[in-house]
Symmetry: D3
Subunit: 332 residues, 6 copies
């Protein structure tokens, strides 16, 4: 099988990094990071359109696509310091979620087989089930913790009678013991769903959900630090799943189920960078970015920057970096 | 089973006509028309979002929802002259096209069993397969002709390996002998798809496709008249399928695969009215209306008016009407 | 009383023509045309927002505000050939329609007293009652014919119990014998309102409404010619009222009650120019332009051009012009 | 008189709660809360369009209209714990503010007569005069304190010579002694209006306005706590009036007079919830939500959530709740 | 020099055709067509933003980028029947028009040296000066006729004191005798610019401008036929310059100086196809497409289709084709 | 030379203050502040469109243009307390940056010659080179410090081979010794540009750049206070340059190169006010406001308010003011 390319539009890669073909090991060996698109949007319970998320996340940047992205605060350049390639999109037919999820899982398995960290560009949140499931081929079940940024817990059992979807993926992961409930941490939860039965299920499994009111009262940095500690115990790595709707709709209007009262863009960027600088991240996805509802590309740009902060954090963890809090021009 | 309601948002009906419940015959008997929503958008090959089509088509009108819609040119009032009810949406989970299509077909069967004409609000065009298939329970296979307004022939075989979708439904209907190729007429075709192999398949089956250049040179009225004659031979009724993208993007920006060079809104409204006034219409769907790409609701409003013109034409065919070409105030 | 200025934003004039003050005759004498804004939008039955119509109609033009607008087809320059001034807005408090209408009428009376032709920038269509009423001070009742471009007849009696509004002004004008029903001609009517009782009232009074289907079948030029002849008998002048929604929503999305199936921009521009070149126009208004629903200013620009075509036609009628159908560069 | 329904579009209710008819006591008895729409937008001094506020506030939610809204942080479900019905819109003709205000007041009187708390969906801010005036039938004059969230003090005397409007309602309430100046607290004030004469009038009456710079320096929580204490002295209840423009335009672009430098969505949601959990709220309105200027429904959604937070706070005050600051899954 | 790539965003090519490098003849030999971008937008007198035109024109298509574009009406496939490559963008610094124009001219010269037909994606209309100037290296001065689709004549002398810009390029071409005035034909002119002095200059040089009123009265097909005949006499080829604003703003809102009353999309597509099928076209540009003012990509898509119609017409002229007026499925 | 007026649209002034003509000293004497537009947008490296910034910044305000803007928190009214006039736009042809920059510099020189403080409305950031250069006629080289609010350092050397542009102006100012590097302070920097070579150049020159992570950790107020102290040493005045993209895209979507993670609107407004109240400000510009990408005018309004805060701060510094932190109605 040759590289599938992209499902919609021209075959662009994340900020024009090199392409790789998961079926051709010569193209994937030595990769630190492999980016892949999962443009599936059939799992959403409301606004569809995240199928154009991967394209938007790859392309949206006013800086030329010159493979230079020096991180000011850290002093690293993820596009230079890491070997990053883009495997294109997974072929995810919108008419059949199981075919799509299986294809995503298979791709993740191939990426981990190449000893690279997968970064998955969604698509709606249903793909995270497939993302994390794909890691089990390498890490085994129950060994990967999840830090999950989202306005919603996504712990429904069935929706319209269906097992899979963007509101059920957490339940599926835990039900199938792919992840342990007590190594699953949620950040940014708020709003009016779910009810007490689902919350009890979550509680019984030992999940930890940081609702926005708690985050407000305790401070996000404290919560993040606590979360990193909690997931680091007796696990082999951390998967970060970022639903862009964890941010307030002011910062991320381009999403399907926006919930007012969320994080600021800065809070999200800082948190992702901090986790990646500190903890053993083995994969990350950025989901629910929906260009049709965006304005002036601000949500796409935020998503692109979340990826860049993660990459920069990973580069800093490997190679060291300056302190982001120090004056920018100190000791240059 | 009780009435499902609507899949997204409040349970509004088409211009606030009464609700009916397909499972409760007391609510459907004596209906002339039953409107139903099919908010499935997983079959689209490009922009998704038609799942919000039914809501937009039901609600969008600046005239109060007073169940009065006197048609100026015809002198009929479809909401008064016909018994029209709205059965709500079919439950169409976005994750599984076959469950969705089967549910749509089942609903159409129930509507025809109640001796009502179904008017289906899409949703993407994949649902038309289910719409027409649903008519076979009453009419048998091969007895219903189709007049299909669209920019695209929708005669693909497989897309991403899938049998069903918004580009394959014509092929499926004809392959399964639900409709005869030589009683399938397309109006408004244009652009750069499909290639010669597919066109040959269409030609061999006796299909008749009016491309826009032919329509330009011969006149739309002539083509419509010719089409009505052709589909009336040895058939028991006509199903009209209206893809809103048959209109030029200037008139219908709110759609998934807009193709420049299409019909004007007037041409479409006149054509639908004329066919319904003249021919034995047994069902109609309006598909591919995608609110996320609309502006100032102009596409939603056009779709709403297509339905009203169809209803007015049906009312005029049953009860007679004034000539739409005569001065408006003549003989009032 | 000094010049009121404008109700919203800076005191701009129509394409930067000179200001005049209706209370200062030294500023209005010798004016051929006085433009005035009536930014009242409380009379609308649906989307409000036409209060910003006057500003948009005055400002929207990509050509510099250099007081040069040579009309290519006619070879006249209305801003040069006519003395045109802008009296600013009438003070129309949005909370009280009668205060607003009385103020508009008073301004029209002052403009006609200065022997200038008023061009009124709406605002919603309720102001046309005040516009035409203002002409009676000079012309008397029943002496001014109206040619009314609109998707809707606006002949309702009461709406929400109110006598005045954008759907009732025609009834008020005729009930108060300000205009004769048989000198009131409507062009572009379509859609699903009003019912037969109102149509009968219109018919009994001898009104003539050209519905779009009749226009389609007979040709707009023929209808316009017929209309000009009809209103010219036993009258002292013609008032043209242009509801921008006479155009299809594709051409004029920026309006409150858009009805698909309308005129093209070209048809409207040609018609207005033709009437003004031919008939004794004593006033014109352009109403229902609503910037909040516009896109890329295309509706504002169309409205601006309707005014320019009217002015050019008036200039051509006074001073003669080349034939608009002749090659552009012939005999230059 | 039967239920009026809604003024624009289909007769939807707030998140599909049951309808009630204020003229039919059998439908209103036992109601804790009655929601009512006041779609009047003629009182605005700038952008109109809030007439579509009630519809947007009722409908906008990505969660199904299933009458379940479990509040995560509080552990209550306002749609389950309270009896909430929706009385539809007040008939508010846009042409006459006094008819509209009188009708609103009459409706509020009927709601309080039914011993329910009114929640009014605006409309522009002029309706708050009518809202609070309606409470006097039950509570008498001067007994209800007001906490007023807004960017603007709304204490003008006359605007364009008119007594009523969205900038004058505070003055009218206090001038008519419906509320005491020293029990009127404003939160979020900023910008460049009014001048010192008006501020002096406010000061002399003992009003308390928290300008954003003070809120910044002292902390919003402190100010809110102080406000609750102040209004609780010698009063019989608190009316909360929320002008959505109290939030920064980033969070609430869909409004008529946006003023940069406002609250975040979180600050507003937290404040409303806190007041309702603590103080004896006897009514609330949410005004100045203007859909035409919204993007991706983020302002409508914020408005909807303000109502839900208020309802949740009221439910928590009545029945008790968990601490919103505690970990979400603790003791479930 | 190696291929410059694209000035903004990823290095995409027109519908993903192969890249070529004008400095590497091995990549350009045997090309029939070379597409090139000229993303210069400093020459516009009003809205800027056409610098993103090349990207939009290359990418915007809902059909997969599969290098298949079978033209339904003609039965040709331009992407298959012709060797088409994309040379990327010319480096056009926005700060200096002369550097930009010289670079464009140099690129055109290299394309013609490779015996390919250049298709230039603008950019604003000032680049057409450079486009046609580039052809003189091969064809000499005065040998190439121009058919110019536009709302505006673009025959200004100086604008803000500058020789070059999007309103002066026609004057420069003729002043420098690059093209003959009497072989320069304009189609679609309308509006209120220029004045009589400029028109006289045009007339004296023998230019022929078809204003929309003439086109209306004589028919576009007649005018086009006349134009082809006129430019074919004593010339060596025809350059077609398409300003997308020749279409009405309803069809092409995404442009800088939209003028109501223009062509329909169908008229433009038919005209371009007809000219290319009939006349010896040696180059074409598509300019003034401005994505920032577009809606739902309808203008970008129209521009993309203008290119495809031109390519299809060229392919048909070379290899023959079916009649576009014949029934689509006849003799397949 | 007479006043040039404005480059685009009607000749409006900042909030309708009086016009002045820089060539007519009788109009500029006694001015405290002279506002001038620099609608040049050819220097941008990405989205163009800031040429419409001056118009938007002058007009956008929902408060009537009544020359009253009482600052609530300070108790000053800048439009009353200062003599402010608007000199219109500088003639900045978009085709030639050097002509444009020279014209801007010349205007600034004339403003300082009139002993007024220039406030320049951009335009893109390349104009700041011309702004500060213009101050040297009065102050000499190296005597004016700069506080620069921006997401980007703008310290590139060449872009596309060009010396001037919106990313190079800082380098030009320092290279030409117009400003000292160690009196150049940047606030709000973030993102992924420039690389270490440029940062080293900045560092070597003694520049001080406050990156957002430092601002987060130390607090903005602290950083601002530190900055004021630093620039006050051995300088004769401070120029403030505000790139609106220093704010997060949520607050300022209408800009060309938005970078997530920026300041809130409140932070910017407070900072500008504080600096102007404290330090000897000799000029200010507001650049990179791009209306085509704005939504509901929120960015234009923010820009307008930045100017008003600066003016209010300047007025307060001259005449004294109340403390902005005190209760609003205290001691009125």
């Amino acid at each position: 099988m040759s590289r599938f390319g992209t499902l919609y539009g021209p075959d662009v890669t994340f900020l024009s990094v090199d392409k790789c073909d998961l079926d051709d090991q010569s193209t994937t060996k030595n990769c630190d990071i492999i980016v892949i698109g999962a443009p599936y949007d059939g799992g959403t319970s409301y606004r569809s359109g995240t199928r154009f998320g991967p394209q938007a996340l790859r392309m949206t940047d006013y800086i030329p696509h010159d493979r230079l992205r020096p991180h000011l605060a850290l002093g690293v350049d993820p596009l230079q310091d890491l070997v990053i390639k883009d495997a294109g999109d997974v072929c995810t037919p919108p008419t059949d979620i199981m075919i799509s999820l299986d294809a995503v899982t298979e791709s993740i398995e191939m990426i981990t087989k190449a000893d690279a960290i997968p970064i998955i560009l969604g698509g709606d949140h249903s793909i995270t089930y497939a993302d994390v499931r794909g890691l089990t081929a390498k890490y085994g079940k129950g060994r990967i913790a999840v830090i999950h940024f989202d306005a919603h817990p996504d712990t429904a059992d069935l929706e319209l009678g269906q097992l899979h979807g963007h509101g059920q993926w957490v339940r599926r992961l835990i039900d199938e013991e792919i992840t342990r409930g007590d190594r699953f941490i949620q950040m940014g939860i708020r709003g009016y769903w779910p009810g007490s039965d689902v919350l009890k299920w979550m509680s019984d499994l030992g999940m930890r959900s940081y609702e926005m009111t708690e985050i407000d009262s305790r401070g996000l940095d404290t919560c993040i630090k606590e979360a990193i500690e909690a997931v680091s115990k007796d696990t082999d790595g951390i998967f970060i799943s970022v639903d862009i709707d964890v941010c307030d709709p002011a910062y991320a209007p381009g999403t399907g189920t926006p919930e007012p009262g969320g994080l600021t863009s800065r809070q999200l960027l800082n948190s992702i960078r901090n986790i990646c600088m500190t903890a053993p991240v083995v994969g990350l996805d950025l989901v629910e970015m929906c260009p049709a509802y965006d304005h002036a590309d601000i949500t796409a740009l935020l998503g692109n920057r979340v990826i860049l902060e993660a990459l920069s954090g990973i580069a800093a963890k490997r190679n060291g970096s300056r302190s982001p809090d120090a004056p920018l021009l100190q000791n240059r």
